[in-house]
């Protein structure tokens, strides 16, 4: 009998009984990456500069439709007009940003802001009741589509008038002028957009601000997000060096964080309009007539002072209406 074979068999049986010993792997300490909001694009794809639109001067795009006479009495709109359609429906559907402090945001449970005041004024002119409004939340990226598809009647969302947008929608006359500046952390050394070449600068996707950032020389690195407040999160986390957009929007962001400041001069001049479908010229003339009245009766000044007084030492004169057609 081969004895060693038996020993080998014993050894094999014994070995089978022992489990394998596992040594816990040592993991290197992870670097603390900043937490990013969903939808951050770094670097952001920048929309190419649009081809020139015939009949529109990119440096001076603001011309709108002249009102035809005084405003009709509330509730008595010309038959068949877009206003009549809205009055019959019983409610104005307005696309607004609801996270944009000073223009449209929730304060004490109420949606308030510069744009909201204008929408309410339009509702009052239509119905005699500023409450007949359904506010539909929109973003920079989806607002034009919602308007052209007919889901909303108009957009009041701090929207700059540009030739590119004029190809898709119509704008009212200028209801405030603003310009792009830069917001940085108060302890940073940046004094304006020209310091920020090669640095990350934030703006939401679909905004003109994003393109103006990318077009500056020396060129900053544009970072895009979904919502304006996402930019503030990125700035607070130190992921971006600056947020750049119109100072009217920056003011609302700055109010949410006193450790930031707005620096540098305006490097753009942007007229803003309320957007209306191209197929509703009567509504556009109606809004322009209302704006005309608001400029004259002090409403424009009152609304500007309520929301944007921190921006200027004195409330500027209302931008004049300019009609080209």
């Amino acid at each position: 009998m081969p004895r060693h074979a038996v020993l080998v068999a014993f050894a094999a049986l014994l070995a089978a009984g022992c489990g394998t010993v596992e040594v816990p792997a040592r993991t290197a300490p992870a670097s603390a990456r900043p937490a990013l909001p969903a939808g951050v694009q770094d670097p952001a794809p920048v929309p190419t500069t649009p081809a020139a639109t015939p009949g529109c001067d990119p440096a001076d795009p603001e011309t709108s439709l002249r009102p035809t006479g005084p405003l009709p009495a509330p509730g008595r709109m010309p038959a068949g007009s877009a206003m009549d359609r809205i009055v019959r429906r019983g409610v104005l559907v307005a696309g607004v940003d609801q996270n944009l402090r000073l223009f449209g945001s929730i304060v004490d449970g109420e949606l308030v802001g510069y744009d909201i005041d204008y929408v309410r004024a339009i509702a009052r002119a239509l119905f005699g009741d500023p409450g007949r409004v359904r506010f539909r939340a929109v973003t920079s990226a989806n607002r034009i589509e919602l308007l052209t598809s007919g889901e909303i009647d108009l957009i009041a969302d701090s929207m700059s008038i540009t030739c590119e947008r004029l190809a898709q929608v119509d704008f009212s006359t200028n209801y405030f002028t603003s310009g792009q500046r830069v917001m940085v952390r108060a302890d940073s050394r940046w004094t304006g957009i020209d310091d920020l070449g090669g640095r990350k600068v934030c703006a939401p996707a679909g905004t003109t601000s994003l393109r103006y950032i990318a077009e500056r020389r020396p060129a900053p690195v544009p970072v895009s997000v979904v919502d304006w407040t996402d930019c503030l999160v990125l700035l607070q986390q130190g992921y971006v060096e600056a947020i750049s957009t119109t100072d009217t929007i920056l003011l609302g962001l700055r109010q949410q964080d006193p450790t930031t400041r707005i620096v540098g001069d305006r490097f753009t001049t942007e007229p803003h309009g309320i957007a209306v479908r191209k197929t509703d010229p009567d509504l556009l003339r109606f809004v322009n007539a209302l704006l005309e009245r608001m400029r004259a009766d002090g409403s424009w000044e009152r609304i500007y002072r309520t929301w944007l007084r921190e921006l200027d030492r004195t409330v500027p004169a209302p931008p004049p209406a300019r009609y080209g057609r």
Binding site: A25, A35, L36, A38, D97, F135, V233
Partner: protein, 416 residues
């Protein structure tokens, strides 16, 4: 050599050879049985002591993190001061996640599991920090609070949940492998045992022919002892394997299906709330909701089909009903929100919608608890089925060898 001896046909030589062979075979069978049973009991101890708890901890971690996401976003809908019950639930979720993590860390999870545990350990404090920042801003009514909440949620979904899922994947696969090994048939011991029984029978026949005595009491005792030992080994391991199998089928396999459905439901709930919190910010969450809502009925169907336990089937049916109601209410929430009736949308979502989503979650939670109980019970029964066998079977086989020797010894002496 053995053949030479047999061919020599000299009775005392053959007798000596048979005695030595039977003793050796008895001892070998005893050793093989001892080794197989020790190995099995070690694996069963691993199933109930480490693999099981670790897999359940991974499921619990995943669920707690998903629930934290759904709860913190739902709490936001109620405006500045969040409902106390939701704040409480979020705190409990974080505590449960931390407890599950410490179980995972204590179990000395190495390799892939260790990396996943480390990732959650590193990210969880960052996540809770973001949620608290969001809350503080929300209390001041500042819109940046919602942005922090979205950042927290995407951190949870992009880093925490995948790590928890990875931990679960690795540990449940390892548990399944251990469960399979613990149920394997001990072929070596059974084969040797069959040879032993055959040897004993052959020896009896040979001895009866040579000595003209029909029965050899020693060999007979040895045969009975060996047969008893092998019966014990066979019945014990089969019963234990059956229990282990039941623990997998009615326990861990069902936990997997149920937990998948529960986590998908929680994520959909978070999506619904985030769409509302975002106030038109993005439809990405609604797209995600629609994808999950499309998968959920199938997930529940599979979970229900995989079990024959009436109690669990009842819970799955209740979950299916709640899911249907919730999806209908979600349609109403979206219709109201899309029409600009935000307050109404929120009131449906935090009211009846939340109640149905909560009922869905509670049913699945109960079903998971039932499956976990079944797993624990089966694991204990699998160990009980083998209790005593580890010592008893080898001792019986040792005694069988001794009895065989005792039976042949007087016959050998006759030739001295």
């Amino acid at each position: 050599m053995a053949l030479l001896l047999l061919r020599s046909r000299r009775t005392p030589d053959v007798l000596a050879l048979l005695a030595a062979g039977l003793v050796l075979l008895g001892v070998l069978t005893g050793l093989a049985a001892a080794v197989a049973l020790a190995d099995r009991s070690e694996r069963l101890a691993e199933v109930s002591g480490r693999g099981g708890p670790l897999t359940l901890a991974a499921v619990d971690l995943y669920q707690a993190l998903s629930d934290a996401d759904a709860t913190s976003t739902s709490a936001f809908l109620s405006g500045g001061s969040e409902p106390r019950a939701l704040a409480e639930r979020y705190r409990t979720d974080v505590a449960r996640a931390a407890a599950a993590l410490s179980v995972a860390a204590r179990s000395g999870a190495g390799g892939e599991s260790g990396a996943a545990v480390a990732a959650v350990q590193e990210t969880l404090p960052v996540y809770t920090g973001l949620v608290e920042t969001a809350r503080v801003y929300n209390r001041q009514g500042l819109p940046v609070g919602a942005a922090y909440l979205r950042a927290a949620s995407s951190l949870n979904r992009e880093r925490l949940l995948p790590a928890a899922q990875e931990l679960y994947r690795v540990e449940s696969a390892r548990l399944a492998a251990t469960q399979r090994d613990a149920g394997a048939t001990p072929w070596t011991a059974l084969g040797l045992g069959a040879a032993l029984l055959g040897g004993l029978a052959g020896t009896q026949v040979w001895v009866a022919r040579r000595t003209h005595r029909v029965l050899n009491p020693g060999l007979l005792t040895a045969s009975l002892l060996a047969a008893g030992a092998l019966g014990w080994l066979l019945v014990g391991t089969l019963a234990s394997a059956g229990d282990t199998d039941a623990g997998r089928r009615d326990g861990t396999a069902q936990i997997e299906l149920l937990a998948q459905a529960r986590i998908a439901a929680l994520q959909a709930r978070g999506d619904e709330a985030l769409t509302l919190v975002g106030r038109g910010g993005s439809d990405a969450y609604e797209v995600d909701f629609a994808a999950l809502a499309g998968q959920l009925p199938g997930m529940l169907e599979r979970a229900g089909a995989a079990t024959d336990q009436p109690a669990t089937r009842r819970e799955v049916r209740a979950a299916q009903v709640a899911l249907g109601d919730w999806l209908t209410l979600h349609g109403e929430v979206r219709a109201a929100d899309d029409a600009g009736r935000y307050a109404e949308a929120v009131s449906i979502a935090v009211g009846t919608g939340s109640a149905q989503a909560g009922a869905l979650d509670a049913s699945l939670g109960t079903a998971i608890g039932q499956a976990a109980d079944r797993f624990a019970r089966s694991a204990a029964e699998a160990r009980r089925a083998l209790s005593g066998a580890g010592a008893g079977v080898p001792v019986l086989l040792g005694l069988a060898a001794a009895a065989a020797l005792a039976g042949l010894w007087p016959r050998l002496q006759e030739y001295r």
